[in-house]
Amino acid sequence: MKVELEADKCVASGQCVVAAMEVFDQDDDGIAILLTDEVGPELVDGVQEAAAVCPAAAIRLVRP
């Protein structure tokens, strides 16, 4: 499954990193970056959690 991140919406809360460290990181200003945009089934829960808690609604999980 694909992960999409709209970084210009990001408010640097870091909640995606807490939810899925394997998928998200933050740059020097705290703005989220994707470590990978393709995730296997084992990471889907974490990404879904990230999408749900992201205050800026900047994360989307796209099913193929």
Binding site: A12, S13, G14, V17, Q26, V53, A56
Partner: protein, 410 residues
């Protein structure tokens, strides 16, 4: 005129309830019963504030999240309809970017986000653990009973935010006393104004010092933005003030109020005392944040364009109040919401709000609370109240809910 509008929507101006509502004396941890009744009736309702104005009160989780994430909902206190007046910032200028909208808000906020990145916060964890252990050592070495607020709950976040900002903790009298006045609901606008001016003057001088002689702290990086011509000295001071004030009362009250609540729920307290699983502690912290909601008076906003929501139209120029305390007890989202259950998944709570204004310090607050809740009860397993719960003075009179004092012994 406001009465006619509200009357049309609700079948009589007399039915508009006053906000805020009192809590039931018997349960200081639950939201006011009247608030829960409103939530049962529907997601939106008009309420009357002390000044006679009638903003919308949003009582349910889904609608709160939707509105807090909507760019037509403004945090600018100067907008028509903004439900204001009885507020810590009343009578004063804006408390930096939390009272601005994008793009200005985002521009200023991004200047101070770096130290709150998860990895940077995690790097602070050992230092926070040392501070927590040191404060507990001091408590155990001293006489009991002791006031947990004074001995532990307030010094911890204060020491940490001072360290992060580069404010000498030795000056804590200046900012702790004044912060207390700024968040006191019964303080007059003049008193709040004077308190915030006093801290601001102190911080302005400190920013000046860091301008001349930068160090490795947040004040210096804010001062750098002045040098770069991105902000002026006044904006820098406001930003520093926001960081300092926001870091104080909030975490302190979560620690003390959380302890009071846990002591009333010994089975839940035992779970924390017996667990050494950081994942469980992190999730327990979220449940405590959900259950307690120290920002009990909600987030206030002004609506800038008509918004249709939950079968209602909120008109441009009307105010909205989103009380997270009641959203986090929404049975649609949290099963059996009035039960404190440290084993539940409460991660989606909005204790830190939602949308672009969500608390910037939340990673720091979460980490501090994880260290505290994971340490305090393990190190003092016999910790208990030194008075009856009925005698604990709760902060019904403050913008940030909590306890004035928490006498404990062990």
């Amino acid at each position: 005129m406001a009465d006619t509008l509200a009357g049309a929507a609700h079948g009589g101006a007399d039915t508009v309830p006053e906000f805020p509502m009192p809590r039931a004396a018997r349960c200081p941890f639950d939201p006011p019963p009247a608030l829960k009744e409103l939530q049962e009736k529907g997601p939106l309702t008009k309420v009357r504030l002390w000044d006679g104005s009638e903003p919308w009160l949003v009582t349910r989780y889904a609608e709160q999240r939707q509105l807090l994430g909507d760019p037509r909902v403004s945090a600018d206190t100067d907008r028509p309809g903004y439900p204001t007046k009885a507020s810590p910032e009343a009578g004063e200028g804006k408390l930096s970017f939390i009272m601005m909208d994008d793009p200005e808000h985002a521009r200023l906020r991004r200047m101070v986000t770096a130290p709150f990145a998860i990895r940077r916060i995690e790097a602070l964890r050992p230092a926070v653990q040392r501070i927590v252990d040191g404060l507990i050592d001091d408590m155990l070495a001293g006489p009991a009973p002791v006031d947990l607020v004074e001995a532990f709950a307030l010094p911890l976040p204060s020491l940490v935010i001072c360290e992060l900002l580069g404010v000498p903790y030795d000056d804590h009298e200046v900012f702790q006393g004044n912060t207390k006045t700024m968040v006191h609901r019964d303080a007059t606008p003049e008193q709040r104004g004077a308190a915030s001016r006093e801290i601001a003057a102190y911080l302005a001088a400190l920013v000046g010092k860091r301008l001349a002689d930068p160090r490795d702290d947040l004040l210096s990086s804010i001062a750098e933005r002045i040098t770069a011509g991105e902000i002026d000295h006044r904006e820098a001071t406001e930003m520093a003030l926001l960081m300092l004030v926001a870091g104080h009362e909030t975490t302190a009250n979560m620690i003390a109020l959380g302890t009071a609540a846990l002591l009333q729920h010994p089975d839940q307290l035992a779970l924390l005392r017996e667990s050494d699983d950081p994942k469980f502690v992190a999730s327990a912290v979220d449940e405590l944040l959900r259950y307690l909601n120290i920002t009990h008076l909600g987030r206030r906003r002004a609506v800038t364009e008509d918004i249709e929501i939950a079968g209602q139209v909120i008109k441009a120029g009307e105010g909205v109040i989103m009380v997270n305390e009641i959203a986090n007890r929404d049975p649609e989202v949290f099963e059996d919401p009035d039960r404190l259950d440290l084993t539940r998944d409460a991660r989606r709570h909005i204790a830190f709000s939602f949308g672009v204004h969500q608390c910037l310090g939340q990673p720091l607050a979460r980490m501090e609370l994880q260290v505290v809740y994971g340490t305090l009860y393990r190190r003092i397993p016999t910790l208990r109240l030194a008075c009856a719960l009925e005698d604990v003075k709760f902060k019904h009179d403050a913008f940030i809910y909590g306890v004035h004092e928490l006498p404990v012994t062990w």
